[in-house]
């Protein structure tokens, strides 16, 4: 098996799905001749042509709206936001048109909106966002946020084949920084299933996307101190895999949630509520969070470093929990 980047894994998923099913089409800005701002769709146009690789004006509402209309006729469009920050421009289409369609009148919308998200690359306030929680708060959507190349490919395939609208977040910091062996054969990773990345017994660290790697790094440091954390990578935020989280907390009795999203209204709060409701009696310590600051994502490196969680912050928070 060859080692490939997460970006290449995403590109492969697009190729393979478009090869497998002529109902799959790609739509977005600069995705054809140019191959996309991050080259995630490079080569698609040459292989599948302009009918299936639809290059659009700078019109995010039109992109999502048109993808919705296409899906009504049984196509499975994959819409690209050049940066996921720009999904804000299509907010109404996503939350009102697309998300409510099946509930309101039984009209499924089998489409994907994917795009590069996340910080750590000095992109500034409009090219670094993690807007996933706007959509986790929207019934009718599924929200996926992978952390590895293997998962990215398998989850994107599942997202394309799903009968519901899926928002697929691709952390751009991970695009070319992580490499792993990925099968060339067809495989999928199921939506809505978290994975235990590291087994442990003293504390549960729940995370996703780039922060899953930070959590793993923190866990390695903690292990040297004799604290053995269990690390859970959520992979899908909506629907949330409550079982995996609860099972782990019942074993470790301590919970730390790490996310790159801002603190207030981040998924840590939701997870904390679930654990309090379902497993309060198992907790030996308060639930703790390591998150980004409640600010926009700042541009200058020292500012962004201050803004983002890192392994040291994870270790510090875990040490506090271990005192109980």
């Amino acid at each position: 098996m060859p080692e490939i980047t997460m970006l290449e894994a995403i590109r492969q998923a697009m190729f393979e799905e478009m090869d497998r099913d002529p109902a799959v089409v790609a739509i977005g800005e600069d995705i054809g001749v140019y191959g996309g701002a991050f080259k995630a769709t490079e080569g698609l146009l040459a292989r599948f042509g302009h009918e299936r690789v639809i290059e659009t004006p700078i019109s995010e509402s039109a992109i999502v709206g048109a993808a919705c209309g296409m899906s009504y006729l049984g196509l499975r469009p994959v819409a690209e936001m050049q940066f996921i920050d720009f999904i804000a421009c299509a907010f109404n289409q996503v939350t009102n048109m697309v998300a409510k369609s099946h509930y309101r009148y039984g009209a499924p919308v089998p489409m994907v909106v994917r795009g590069p998200s996340g910080g750590g690359v000095h992109g500034g306030p409009f090219h670094s966002a993690n807007p996933e929680m706007y959509f986790v708060h929207t019934p009718g959507l599924k929200v996926v946020y992978p952390s590895t190349a293997y998962d990215a490919k398998g989850l994107l395939k599942s997202a394309i084949r799903d009968n519901n609208p899926v928002l697929f977040f691709e952390h751009k910091f991970l695009y070319r920084r992580i490499k792993e062996e990925v099968p060339a054969s067809d495989y999928t990773v199921p939506l809505g299933k978290a994975v235990v990345r590291r087994e442990g017994r003293h504390i549960t660290i729940v995370s996703y996307a780039a922060m899953a790697h930070v959590a793993m790094e923190g866990a390695r440091l903690l292990a040297k101190e004799g604290i053995e954390p269990e690390v859970i990578d959520l992979r899908t935020l909506l629907p949330l895999d409550r079982e995996t989280i609860l099972d782990s907390v019942k074993k470790t009795n301590r919970l730390l949630v790490v996310h790159e999203d801002t603190r207030t209204g981040g998924i840590a709060g939701e997870i904390a509520a679930i654990v309090c409701e379902e497993a309060f009696g198992y907790l030996d310590a308060p639930i703790s969070r390591v998150t980004a600051l409640d600010t926009p994502v700042p541009y200058s490196p020292p500012l962004e470093e201050r803004f983002l969680p890192n392994a040291e912050k994870v270790v510090a928070a875990a040490r506090e929990l271990a005192k109980y």
Binding site: D19, P22, A23, V25, G32, V33, G43, L45, A46, R47, F48, G49, H50, E51, R52, I54, T56, P57, S59, E60, S61, A62, I63, V64, G65, A66, A67, C68, G69, M70, S71, Y72, L73, G74, L75, R76, P77, N92, Q93, N96, M97, K100, S101, H102, Y103, R104, Y105, G106, A107, P108, P110, P139, G140, K142, N163, N164
Partner: protein
């Protein structure tokens, strides 16, 4: 506003039965809404009632131009279009009364329902303009699948101010999508008159800027609306790209039942009362001997019979069980999603689909004003089926009534039709030539005021 110029010749291609169909649907639309008003006053309607009184000719005339395979998405005042597409009065009654037997089982109200499989109707959302890109996508998918369909939706004068109107029209135009937009200018966006929303007289003028062909019709003349819509639909089906039709009409009630619309000048209301689309069409049918009093009574009796039965059905229907609230957020295999291919799939698969990934850019560096927009064949449409979009004399297929309403062809330098420009040039040429005056070389004297 209605005048002879805007009124197209009666739809000569329609049979007598079709002429009576138009009457049936308009009258059904009106009497159905009359009953909704009564039910509202009886507190039997859960939400609002958004009257289309006076606008029935728009909904009926435009949707009647579609074929069963075509798609539409109504707006709040297009219940008539839903009736033409085959939905029954009971669907409208139950929707408004939030009954379990309604098409949405009580999950949504009013005209907010649809049917993807049989009637090809997309449900609207309350946010205005979003259906324009959605129906563009429907049109594009239909073309991709080889279905040769046309997609249609409506927007009000108010909704034409939204950002997504612009995104949608521009995208439909760049894609040359088989998409018809009916801009229903009913003079009022809730309480704001159209003159305070836009600084232009005709909303159709905006089509020029998108490179989209357009026409303006008298919305209270159902045949004019039908004729213009039929021409637009035929044109779209022939692969000539989207068309915008502005219909001039008038909202004869408030925004919804709660709104007495006291802000509407009485003289304006009185003027439009004289333009009632049903009264005008009845007169037309009588003058052209397409019916007699007996036929009218027969149709009216049929309408009342159908409404009686369906209203009874709705009133006797149960409200939904509370636990339904929790169901149906996601499709968990309850729907089988399969596209209906009307062309060989291998056409869109490699190697047939493969092409050289390069842009071909014509006319770069040329800044001389072009009288024509660049006609770019849309992806997926064989260039042979795409005639020059800028050709001012578009001939619809066959000798239909469409000839009576030539589309306003967009052209590159503003909202003037090419014919206007040519006419002006001709007139200038006819004017007697004055000998050159000799004051040009004299210094200008400043006039005292």
């Amino acid at each position: 506003m209605p005048n002879e110029k805007m009124t197209a010749a009666p739809g000569g291609a329609l049979t007598t039965a079709q002429h009576l169909d138009l009457y049936y649907y308009m009258q059904l639309n009106r009497r159905l809404e009359d009953r909704l008003v009564t039910l509202f006053r009886q507190n039997k309607i859960v939400g609002g009632v958004y009257s289309s009184l006076g606008q029935e000719g728009v909904s009926i005339g435009s949707s009647y131009a579609l074929e069963p395979r075509d798609w539409l998405a109504p707006m709040i005042r297009n219940i008539g279009a839903l009736l033409v597409k085959g939905f029954k009065p009971r669907d409208i009654f139950t929707q408004h009364m939030a009954k379990f037997t309604s098409p949405t089982q009580g999950k949504d109200g009013t005209s907010h329902f649809g049917d993807l499989k049989v009637r090809h109707v997309v449900s609207p959302i309350s946010m205005l303009g979003d259906l324009i890109p959605v129906m563009t996508g429907v049109a594009m998918a239909g073309r991709y699948l080889g279905q040769n369909i046309v997609a249609m939706t409506w927007i009000g004068d108010g909704g034409s101010s939204t950002g997504v109107f612009h995104e949608g029209m521009n995208f439909a135009a760049t894609q040359r999508a088989p998409f018809v937009l009916i801009v229903e200018n009913n003079q009022w966006a809730y309480s704001t008159p159209v003159g305070r929303q836009v600084p232009i007289k005709n909303l159709a003028d905006r089509a020029v800027a998108y490179g989209v062909r357009s026409t303006i019709v008298d919305g209270n003349d159902v045949l004019a609306v039908y004729t213009a819509s039929k021409a637009a639909v035929d044109d779209c089906r022939a692969g000539r790209g989207p068309v915008l039709i502005e219909v001039k009409t008038m909202r004869m009630k408030g925004h919804a039942q709660h709104d007495p619309a006291e802000y509407v000048p009485k003289a304006m209301m009185d003027f439009w009362k004289q333009q009632d689309p049903i009264a005008r069409y009845e007169k037309f049918l009588t003058e052209n001997k397409l019916w007699d009093a007996a036929k009218k009574s027969e149709i009216d009796a049929r309408i009342d019979r159908e409404l009686d039965a369906d209203q009874k059905f709705a009133e006797e229907s149960p409200l939904p069980p509370p636990e339904l609230a929790e169901q149906g957020v996601y499709c968990d295999g309850c729907h089988t999603i399969e596209a209906e291919w009307r062309r060989p799939k291998k056409e869109v698969m490699p190697p047939a689909s493969s092409e050289e990934a390069v842009w071909k850019v014509a006319d770069f560096g040329a800044f001389k004003a072009s009288a024509h927009p660049v006609a770019v064949p849309a992806p997926g449409v064989a260039p042979a089926s795409v005639p020059d979009a800028a050709s001012p004399d578009i001939e619809p297929d066959g000798a239909g009534p469409a000839k009576e309403v030539p589309l306003r062809v967009p052209f590159g330098r503003g909202p003037k039709d090419r014919s206007v420009e040519l006419e002006r040039r001709d007139k200038a040429a006819e004017r007697p030539q004055h000998p050159p005056r000799h004051h040009q070389n004299k210094p200008h004297k400043r006039r005292r005021r």
